[in-house]
């Protein structure tokens, strides 16, 4: 069984700051990490590897420095890593990105057919959640997003049963491989790599693929291949006020609680009705 996991290297958004003079994003010195959502998908892929002996290839489209994220994924247990990198990819929106990644996955499939493609639910820098579905659509793979659990995978019949987060509940879906899966955040915890995986990752000779190598057409990647254009980027106006500190009649917890409730209902009168309605309904 061959599993491909698509990851993206992103700036650690918790540490992103805006340059006070130029109003641009200060990337310098901000550590680059694997998109946190990708880790849930990667962990699930590695668990399948443990369970059924699948081979896991990690793929990323990015600049040369994305190599460090691939090595990190290898150190967690991935078997192979491919860096899809080319100047022509710069400026790709999600349509162009899913096109480029698909060309690489098809190339990988030439060697060994791909059974499952895992993608992160969304990225912390783009947040669009579009690349996974884009890849599934292009490859004609069954699309399974917001998966909370892989209940069963039968290699012989290639049937997979999953639980999918839906409005108000969970769908239990059954489908046949090949499929594309994005995992919901919080469904697992990424493992701590073993020493020999660390060694293997440090020594691994990375496969670096260009646009030419995968056969991606120039007109369908980069800015040329992107229907969406960024018209402007700006700093949001900061919320004018900090928290309104609640003053209580006295220091006792009861007084503070009473003052807090008054403040809550003053700020949100509808909330009072809401809560009463819920209480009345016995919720």
């Amino acid at each position: 069984m061959h599993i491909v996991v698509c990851i993206k290297q992103v700036p650690d958004s918790a540490q992103i700051r805006i340059h006070p003079v130029t109003n641009t994003i200060m990337r310098q010195g901000v550590p680059a990490i694997i998109n946190p959502f990708d880790l849930f998908s990667l962990e699930e892929a590695l668990r399948l590897k443990d369970k059924v002996g699948a081979r896991v290839t990690v793929l990323t489209m990015g600049p040369p420095m994305a190599e460090t994220s691939l090595r990190k994924a290898l150190s967690l247990g991935a078997d192979d890593a491919v860096l899809l990198t080319d100047r022509k990819f710069a400026g790709s929106d999600t349509l162009a990105t899913s096109y480029a990644l698909t060309s690489a996955i098809q190339k990988l499939a030439e060697e060994e057919p791909v059974d499952i493609v895992f993608c992160g639910k969304q990225t912390v820098d783009g947040d669009t959640a579009q690349v996974g579905p884009g890849i599934a659509t292009r490859l004609g793979f069954e699309q399974l997003t917001y998966i909370t659990k892989i209940e069963d995978l039968d290699i012989a019949s290639k049937e997979i049963v999953v639980q999918r987060r839906s409005e108000g509940g969970v769908q239990v879906l059954k489908t046949t491989l090949p499929c594309m899966i994005t995992m919901l955040e919080g469904t697992n915890t990424i493992r701590f790599g073993k020493m020999d995986d660390l060694f293997r990752a440090a020594r691994y000779e990375l496969k670096t693929w260009s646009r030419d190598f995968t056969g991606a057409e120039e007109g369908r990647v980069g800015l040329k291949g992107s229907p969406t254009v960024v018209s402007k980027v700006f700093v949001p106006k900061p919320r004018a006020e900090k928290a309104k500190m609640i003053e209580a009649a006295s220091d006792t917890p009861d007084a503070m609680a009473a003052a807090a409730i008054d403040a809550i209902f003053a700020a949100q009168p509808k909330l009072s009705d809401d809560l009463l309605a819920r209480a009345a309904a016995g919720l």
Partner: protein
């Protein structure tokens, strides 16, 4: 709102073959007969955009034929649609990517809307990406603001980027339809007007169930499950390291129970084993937008903040008056959560039960 004199966006001549695309559509999300409120919010937004463009609002309702579906079509008109495309087939009874995507792309190709909006729900985001890729068009996700740029009559979709540090406005100039998803509760709910009229177009795609690979085996409603459903909770009481010990989590659960809400935690608590990760709120946990978020003993680090800062009302309780959380909470209480939480539980309990008894 734009001032006519100020240039907006690039001047752009739409290619001839795309000029036939007209109207602003909303894909109305319904599951098991219940409309997701975000679809109604989007109808209100679509109305504003359509008025600016001088075109009509279309609503697409997909599902199996049923009285519920007919009612939903009526609702769509009451909330602003001029045309409702009612697409029915037994295979559409439950949401699955493949049939929904195929049907939607056929309907879009047949009727050529210039803008298609969906709610950024699990269904909406799953479907939008598939449709946009099939149609090879532009899609902007999780928009916080939608507008039309007068200079090019194109949708201007604004969304946060880099965890909310920046905003960017995105346009799809040379492709149609222009697609966008919007999160629930970002746009205002429009007024319902039952006097409104509109027309319903019936579409029967005639799907074959045997052609669809993915099957729905079951649907487990949340009430049956033990897991927390934070993403959809209206009231959340959340705990951070300030709580001190795992035994104190009881205080959080007590308050949540009285309020009919859910319990959330910060990542360190999940890592310490005080709660399971389905309760984690934050960058790598859940993003929540409840009506009321009570943060007890939470410092307000950015990784937690991005998961809850859009809550309607945030009350922060912390012993440290300089805690970061007070920078963005709405209400602040400097005090010990360990004594205040039980006091709140008590006080809310009394206020709410009085009325229950009276009612």
């Amino acid at each position: 709102m734009s001032e006519p004199s100020k240039p907006q966006g690039r001047k752009f001549q739409l290619p001839e073959h795309l000029k036939v695309y007209k109207n602003v559509w909303v894909i109305v999300e319904q599951e098991r007969g219940i409309v997701h409120s975000v679809s109604l919010e989007l109808l209100g937004e679509a109305r504003k955009l359509a008025d600016k463009l001088g075109v009509e609002v279309g609503a697409v309702v997909l599902g199996a034929e049923s009285p519920d579906l007919n009612r939903i079509c009526g609702d769509a008109i009451s909330y602003g649609a001029d045309i409702v495309y009612k697409v029915t087939d037994p295979a559409l009874a439950d949401y699955r990517t493949d049939p929904y995507c195929r049907v939607m792309t056929d309907v879009v190709n047949a009727h050529k809307p210039e803008i298609v909006l969906l709610g950024a729900t699990t269904l909406g985001r799953d479907l939008a990406g598939a449709i946009a890729t099939t149609l090879a068009t532009g899609l902007t996700a999780d928009c916080t603001e939608l507008d039309i740029y007068a200079d090019n009559r194109s949708l201007a979709a604004t969304r946060p980027t880099f965890g909310g540090t920046l905003l960017c406005t995105i346009q799809t100039l040379a492709y149609r339809p222009q697609m966008a998803t919007v999160r629930p509760r970002v746009m205002a709910m429009p007024e319902r007007d039952d006097a409104r009229t509109g027309r319903v177009v019936e579409i029967r795609p005639d799907l074959r169930e045997e052609d669809i690979v993915t099957k729905v085996l079951n649907f487990i409603a949340d009430r049956e499950q033990n897991e927390a459903q934070l993403a959809f909770a209206d009231i959340i009481v959340s705990a951070g390291k300030g709580l001190g010990k795992v035994e104190n989590m009881k205080l959080v659960f007590d308050l949540a129970r009285v309020l009919g809400g859910e319990v959330g935690v910060t990542r360190p608590l999940v890592q310490a084993g005080w709660a399971t990760n389905d309760r984690q709120v934050g960058q790598t946990g859940k993003t929540v937008r409840p009506k009321l978020y009570i943060a007890a003993g939470i410092s307000g680090a950015i990784q937690h903040r991005v998961g809850m800062e859009k809550s309607d009302l945030i009350l922060a309780i912390n012993t440290d008056p300089n805690a970061t959380i007070f920078d963005f909470a709405h209400l602040g209480l400097v005090g010990d959560a360990l004594t205040i939480l039980p006091a709140l539980t008590d006080a809310f309990g009394r206020r709410l039960s009085v009325n229950r008894m009276a009612g």
